[in-house]
């Protein structure tokens, strides 16, 4: 009997063909997913690549020279110290002086060092330089690095270092100030990074390199006793070291072309090669600056936070209120439907249009209000509506439809059964909304609102129109401040010609992404924490 359906061999083939078709689609979807993830990874890596890497820096005063200069001065000024340019003279003099101690290049010691012996340092191995004493010296068999530091600076008699040593003055024999041996000794014993020096040393370095007038000015700004170690270090960087970034390389370039970069920097006069991390705590806490070495994102982060705070204050209550009205009270009549379709359309309006609206309404028409001159906070003659308040309200308008739509969704998801149960007990409609609808819709409302806020956080175009300033060096301090925000700051940095600003932009992008990630993470956490129990 003939069947209308395929049978036997034909059936097997037919099923196989159907399966193959499914397999093709499945592979395509997998490909799409992989592609998406890959593109995102590439994007992220490209940005991260710029946040680390070599930089060529030119200092007016190099950091290690700063340290060496300080200790050289202290050592040469110590009592009973003499400098001899000729190693043979130094050897002769020291060999005849049992109370003496000296510093020599290792090569010089090996060439001329008769009558001297090397003093071993127990916790430090000196490279290229040795500490020497006369063979007639009977007590100095070893030294710790701490004793060594004091030996050439503040100690005056041997017994100050160890009580069992003779109570006679120390005679110090040093090579001249310009000798490489002294430089090497200081760098190894006292260190070469100013950051690791004690605060007193930093103050001394400042005093050495700044005029007395400049020091008085610094003290007048803020007394020395009120300043921290970090303050002094920053002063040294700003006023003494004064680094200039000549060229920057990305992380991948730094790894792959290391030799070429080193050769290139070696050819630049006075340039040093440093490995720099662009995202540092300093970067986050420093205000905006026109010099990339010192620029940070604090101004922009604070600006973003202020703007988003205003946005939140305006959009959340209004949005949730509108959602409650439309869902719970609205009768679904033609007016409600008109409002509803308007809201849905507004959610799709390009953000630049909101910027134009904000410019016309908040910056221009409501200028007395948004500039603060209405409250007498600003002189009306110079007042300007391009403030945090205008920007916050503009972004508030922008995300209002999103918040309304999300909140309505969340309210609609509350089972009708709860409303009926509540009303059936004799509750009024408001009691029902307050006690049952809102608590159960809250996680959804919060999640939607946080996502809307993070959209506002990343928004750029409307703020350009409303007038976020690109060069703000003062932190915003209230709703009537001028402001800049992170995305604008990034945009501004990327448009600068100097290479270092590109790295700063990349670092700022990472900061922005991290902040957005925190907010989205919060949304996920809230959704998980208040997930439904019914």
């Amino acid at each position: 009997m003939m069947s209308d359906f395929p049978e036997g061999q034909e059936l097997e083939q037919f099923i196989k063909r159907r399966r193959q078709k499914g397999l093709i689609w499945r592979s395509l979807f997998l490909l799409a997913t992989t592609l998406g993830v890959l593109v995102l990874m590439v994007l992220l890596l490209t940005i991260l690549n710029k946040t680390l890497g070599y930089v060529a820096v030119r200092y007016r005063m190099e950091p290690d020279e700063l340290v060496v200069a300080l200790y050289r001065t202290i050592m040469l000024d110590a009592s009973q110290t003499q400098t001899l340019a000729n190693p043979a003279d130094l050897t002769r003099g020291l060999a005849a002086d049992p109370d003496g101690v000296g510093i020599m290049a290792r090569a010089d010691f090996e060439a001329t060092g008769q009558g001297l012996r090397v003093v071993p340092i127990t916790d430090l191995s000196l490279q290229g330089v040795v500490v020497v004493v006369s063979e007639a010296n009977t007590w100095l068999t070893d030294l710790t690095s701490l004793e060594l530091m004091r030996l050439f600076t503040i100690a005056t008699t041997w017994s100050e270092l160890r009580p069992e040593w003779p109570q006679r003055p120390i005679h110090r024999w040093l090579p001249p100030a310009s000798s490489p041996a002294l430089h090497a000794f200081i760098a190894q014993v006292y260190g070469e990074d100013p950051r690791t020096q004690p605060t007193e040393a930093l103050v001394a370095m400042l005093a050495m390199h700044l005029s007395p007038g400049a020091m008085r000015q610094i003290m007048a700004e803020k007394p020395l006793s009120a300043r921290t170690h970090e303050d002094f270090y920053q002063l040294l960087v700003d006023r003494v070291m004064e680094p200039t970034i000549l060229e920057t390389w990305s992380f991948s370039e730094s790894i792959l072309n290391r030799k070429a970069i080193q050769a290139r920097v070696a050819a630049m006069p006075d340039a040093r090669l440093e490995f720099r991390r662009w995202i540092t705590w300093d970067f986050i806490t420093s205000p905006q600056s026109s010099r990339p070495e010192f620029a940070g994102v604090r101004t922009a982060i604070l600006g973003s936070l202020w703007v988003v705070f205003i946005t939140l204050l305006f959009a959340i209550p209004v949005g949730i209120g509108a959602a409650i009205y439309l869902e719970e009270y609205g009768s679904g009549g033609w007016l409600d439907q008109l409002i509803e379709s308007n809201i849905n359309n507004l959610a799709g309006v390009p953000s630049i249009i909101y910027g134009m609206l904000g410019l016309a309404v908040f910056v221009r028409a409501l200028e007395p209000l948004t500039s603060g001159s209405l409250f007498g906070l600003v002189d009306p003659a110079t007042s300007n509506g391009r403030t945090v308040l205008s920007a916050g309200l503009t972004l508030g308008l922008l995300i209002l439809p999103l918040i309304i739509i999300n909140a309505r969704e969340a309210i609609r998801a509350v089972p009708q059964a709860f409303r009926e149960a509540s009303l059936g007990l004799g509750a009024t409609q408001w009691q029902t909304i307050w006690s049952h609808v809102l608590p159960n819709a809250l996680p959804g409302i919060l999640t939607g609102s946080i996502l809307a806020i993070s959209r506002a956080f990343g928004e750029t175009a409307p703020l350009v129109v409303v007038g976020a300033s690109t060069a703000i060096f003062l932190d915003p301090h209230g709703p009537f401040s001028k402001f800049t925000v992170l995305p604008i700051q990034i945009y501004q940095w990327t448009s600068r010609p100097q290479a270092a600003f590109q790295n700063l932009a990349a670092a700022a992008i990472i900061v922005l992404l991290a902040l957005l990630l925190v907010m989205n993470g919060l949304a996920v956490y809230l959704r998980h924490k208040y997930r439904r129990t019914y």
Binding site: A417, A421, G426, T533
Partner: protein, 259 residues
């Protein structure tokens, strides 16, 4: 709104319900006696739930619903403009088809209705008394802080009954209260209904004819006409409806020939 001279707690006169243009129920005349169980039965779509919801004005929340005729509660029409539906619902409680406790603790589920209605007495005592009347106290007395949804389906339905009892209603409307429950849990609810009828007037919509026969004192049989409009075909004491129905349609339905 109390008028104790009438022997009936609830009485409908020419009750018609419309959903927009659709005539859902027509000309219903019902008299509900005090401290009796009245069952509303009939095939799907016959409007029995719609009629039940007219008794405490739950249809108010359906924007297209419209009521004609009168629903008298102790002789006073609850659809008169001077009647506040909130007060009606306090006196006429409701239990729904699917157990719907609030996602709160067992204690709060029972206490909430009393709180919003301005209860001034001892709340703990009220909660215990309501749970005892709903035959749930022994099962939950050690876990009053547990979420209402941690209970089984049958327990959840008894919790909903306790919640309704806590605002001291006179009438309890039950909309297919056992249709979402297993047979054992259903039986417990039925026993409970019989007990509650000593103090409350109960109106129950049910699809289960044995249930109507077992628990109710009066049965109202609804069916639909050719326009799919529901109407009351026959109303009388339950034994009469089930043994000697006057109407042929009722008999066909009771004996399982349709519906």
């Amino acid at each position: 709104m109390m008028n104790t001279s009438s022997p009936y707690v609830i009485e409908t006169q020419d009750l018609n319900v419309f959903y927009g243009d659709f005539h859902a129920v027509k000309n219903v005349q019902l008299r509900i006696e005090k401290h009796k169980i009245t069952a509303l039965i009939g095939p799907s779509g016959c409007g029995k739930s719609t009629v039940l919801r007219c008794f405490n004005r739950m249809n108010d929340f359906i924007p297209t619903a419209r009521i004609q005729g009168r629903v008298l509660f102790h002789g006073k029409n609850i659809y008169d403009p001077d009647v506040d539906p909130v007060q009606v619902r306090r006196r006429i409680g409701m239990v729904f088809q699917k157990p719907n406790p609030f996602p709160k603790s067992i204690y709060d589920n029972v206490a909430w209705g009393a709180k919003i209605n301005g209860f001034r007495g001892d709340l703990d005592q009220l909660v215990e008394e309501s749970l005892r009347r709903a035959a749930l106290w022994d099962e939950v007395k050690d876990k009053l802080d547990a979420n209402g949804y941690s209970l089984s389906g049958g327990q959840q339905q008894r919790l909903c009954i306790a919640r309704a009892l806590a605002v001291k209603p006179e009438v309890i409307l039950m909309d297919e209260p056992t249709s979402a429950l297993d047979p054992i849990a259903s039986l417990r609810i039925e026993e409970l209904m019989v007990q509650l009828a000593e103090e409350y007037t109960i109106i129950v919509v049910t699809h289960n004819m044995q249930q109507a026969a077992r628990v109710s004192d009066y049965t109202a049989f609804f069916t639909v006409d050719e326009h799919r409009t529901g109407y009351l075909e026959e109303f009388g004491p339950t034994p009469e409806i089930f043994t000697t129905p006057k109407s042929r349609i009722t008999e066909d339905y009771i004996t399982g020939r349709f519906g």
